[in-house]
Amino acid sequence: MSSSTIVSLPDQSTARVPKMNFISKENGLLSWLLTGDHKRIAILYLVSITFFFFIGGALAGLIRLELLTPQSDLMATDTYNKVFTMHGIIMIFFFLVPSVPATLGNFFIPMMIGAKDLALPKINLLSWYLYIAAGILALYSMMTGGVDTGWTFTTPLSTHYLNTNVVSTGLAIFIAGFSSIFTGLNFIVTIHKMRCPGMTWFRMPLFVWAHYAASILMVLGTPVVAIALVLVVLERVAGIGVFDPTKGGDPLLFQHLFWFYSHPAVYIMILPGMGVISETISTFSRKRVFGYTAVAFSSVAIAVFGFFVWAHHMFIMGISNYSMLVFSLLTMLVAVPSAIKIFNWAFTLYKGSITFETPMLYTFGFMGLFTIGGLTGVFLGTSGTDIHLTETYFIVAHFHFVMVGGMLMAFLAGIHFWWPKMTGRMYPEKISQFAAVVTFIGFNFTFFPQFILGTLGMPRRYASYPPEFQILNVFSTAGATILGVGYLLPLLYLTWSLKYGEIAGENPWQATGLEWQTQSPPLTENFPAIPIMDHEAYDYEWLEGQKEKVASVG
């Protein structure tokens, strides 16, 4: 085995993908549509979110094309509004929120804690059906005239001044919300009640901790946005006046309810990503995550503080100056745990034995981009700078650095990391490393100019803009094309690898997680016998020990 990699594959000439696994167990479409197996549901989710990701991506492409020129010439302003609205809604509610939890989380949380399945398999399947129903409804409302509220549904615009499909889209998000509630609920129950013998809270992989924190947010936050959207629908249908200033309602109340979910939602999106990073960075530096406890608790801290900061989206919208002070201060506090994580990851590398397979490259990408995204978040949490920077491209760049640069990088890292476990076959290393680099370059090209645009004052959601902003927009669009390529490549070579990839064997990365100590793809109930956790998480000595045992037996 060459010294620059840790990959150790079985002898390809003799190795076979195990005959008996969760995929080969049953055949036929129904066996998938009626399955209770968390792994199969995860695959269903993976397929569906990929579908929605590329729809959202196509819309993003349209946006960038329109912004190539200062005039709104590619499409009319109202078309543009619909496009960016649907881009936001699809990417947030149908890709980012379920991305890591519903796919990787769904697949690996039970395996990592040594359970046979999630606690509530039927609920798990139900949540996928809800997601699909919501997705179809959203696409339907997109096809039949679309919606142009912006993903924030700001009242009274959404309730009184638009005649697009606000109601159906609102319902779609409502349903999608329940899908994610059920996922979160399922995770919490599973993590509390289904851990295998010896799997104490502080022996759980940090991936599980991160999902635990995110699930708390899903369960407690989502219902509030659900009721907020119900009120918007009622306001539209019946004109009940609760958000209507002319009837004495307060439009700001909607934003309070909306952001009470939609700010924590940001953490719902990023926390699972952080979980992935903890796994990859430990595996590829052969080292226990630096300060395990700190990282674990910082996840929970983010979840808890996440509920106290929502009004920082409303600093200039006429909330009282005094509650601005409170929310701004708390925002500063919530920034700290993220800083802790970044530094702990950096020091995990210290005295490690590092290799640079694709997941690790994505991980480095995540750390760089997420750091930028996080730091620029502080600009917006600081009330003074928020006045100038909010509602401009600065904020657009900020959340794309966190969501795309952070979350999506983490998602791809995770997909590549666990691909051998999910499919039993390796992805092609070289081209995927290339894709990772392309993605990183393309991303910076696309979104870094937008920080400057924002500082110069270019407002977001503009179909046409003053000519002096053109050059940076051209850069951004150019970058977007590169980024697009970076995202298409994995789709192609991962599909290819399903048939032609090398046989991965049990544990290609020499990783310590329980999920790696069984065949890949795993059996339907994950383990031949319930494992017993007799060591800390990320205990590489233990792993060596296991290998020697096997050797001596063989």
């Binding site: 359970a115 046979k116 399945d117 606690a119 509530l120 398999p121 609920i123 509630i181 609920l185 399922n186 919490i188 129950v189 599973t190 509390h192 009640k193 289904m194 851990r195 295998c196 013998p197 010896g198 799997m199 104490t200 809270w201 502080f202 369960v219 407690l220 936050g221 989502t222 219902p223 509030v224 659900a226 009721i227 907020a228 009120l231 009622l234 249908v237 019946a238 004109g239 009940i240 006046g241 609760v242 009837k247 004495g248 309602g249 307060d250 109340l253 309070h256 309810l257 109930e525 319930i530 017993i532």
Partner: protein, 258 residues
């Protein structure tokens, strides 16, 4: 959460799993659980988490209620006088008693009294229907008086209380509101319909499940030691009861002194 406990908890679960591997699995134990105890714990915990989401769901409405009540107190007082406190109280009693019968049902299931279970579930079912009946009578009144926000809402009774003799007799001291304040009664009635409506929706779902449970209870499904379903439905039903306890205090009893 102290992990020491967690640890012992789980190691124990699996100990008896290890030994109990040979015992026959109970018919109602799902394949992926190690012990029945683990299963009932898990489902019970899941139910509680679901109730959390319900709390937050109603939380949005309660927030709206508090804000507008602070802003438009006079409108809220006069508008709430439109609700009949007698019906309201009656409904509260009905619901509390139904909660009691439900609790008895759980007890019967736990102690394997099949007849008792069927009876108390049926009583709960009847009381649930009674509640919905009374509610619909109340809503009927509002519709007649055009107090449904958004559907030809009428300010008549608030601009000129005398035009509504029944209520006027009860609360002679109610002054006519000025137009701008009278308009805000619509927000009160919206909150009234939204909150009671949302609550009634939960009741309807509950009553539906009750039918299903009564059928299965008569077949003896819950009196064999597998009581999780009854317990969890009990939790749901009591939760709906709690919501009503607050709605009653907030919507009906704002200020009843004539």
């Amino acid at each position: 959460m102290s992990d020491s406990q967690v640890v012992t908890g789980n190691e124990v679960v699996v100990h008896d799993a290890a030994e109990g591997a040979h015992h026959e699995h109970l018919p109602y134990q799902r394949h992926h659980f190690e012990t029945y105890a683990q299963q009932s714990d898990a489902t019970n915990f899941a139910m509680w988490l679901f109730l959390l989401t319900e709390i937050m769901f109603f939380g949005g409405l309660f927030t709206a209620y508090l804000i507008y009540r602070n802003w438009y107190y006079p409108a809220f007082v006069v508008a709430s006088h439109q609700l009949d406190v007698v019906w309201g109280t009656l409904n509260t009693l009905v619901l509390i008693i139904s909660s009691f019968t439900m609790a008895m049902g759980v007890w019967c299931a736990e102690t394997r009294r099949r007849r008792g279970l069927v009876i108390s579930l049926s009583l709960t079912f009847i009381l649930g229907l009674a509640f919905l009946g009374i509610k619909s009578i109340e809503w009927g009144e509002k519709i007649e008086k055009h107090h449904v926000p958004g559907f030809h809402y009428s300010l008549q009774t608030f601009l000129d209380p005398a035009s509504d003799p029944k209520v006027h007799k009860e609360y002679p001291k109610d002054q006519p509101l000025r137009l701008d304040m009278a308009r805000h009664t619509e927000i009160y009635f919206f909150l009234y319909f939204a909150m009671t409506g949302m609550h009634a929706l939960h009741m309807v779902i509950g009553v539906g499940i009750l039918v299903f449970m009564i059928v299965r209870a008569r077949a003896g499904a819950y009196t064999t030691g597998h009581v999780t379903f009854v317990e969890n439905f009990g939790l749901y039903w009591h939760f709906v009861d709690i919501i009503w306890i607050y709605l009653f205090a907030l919507l009906y009893l704002i200020s009843r002194h004539p």
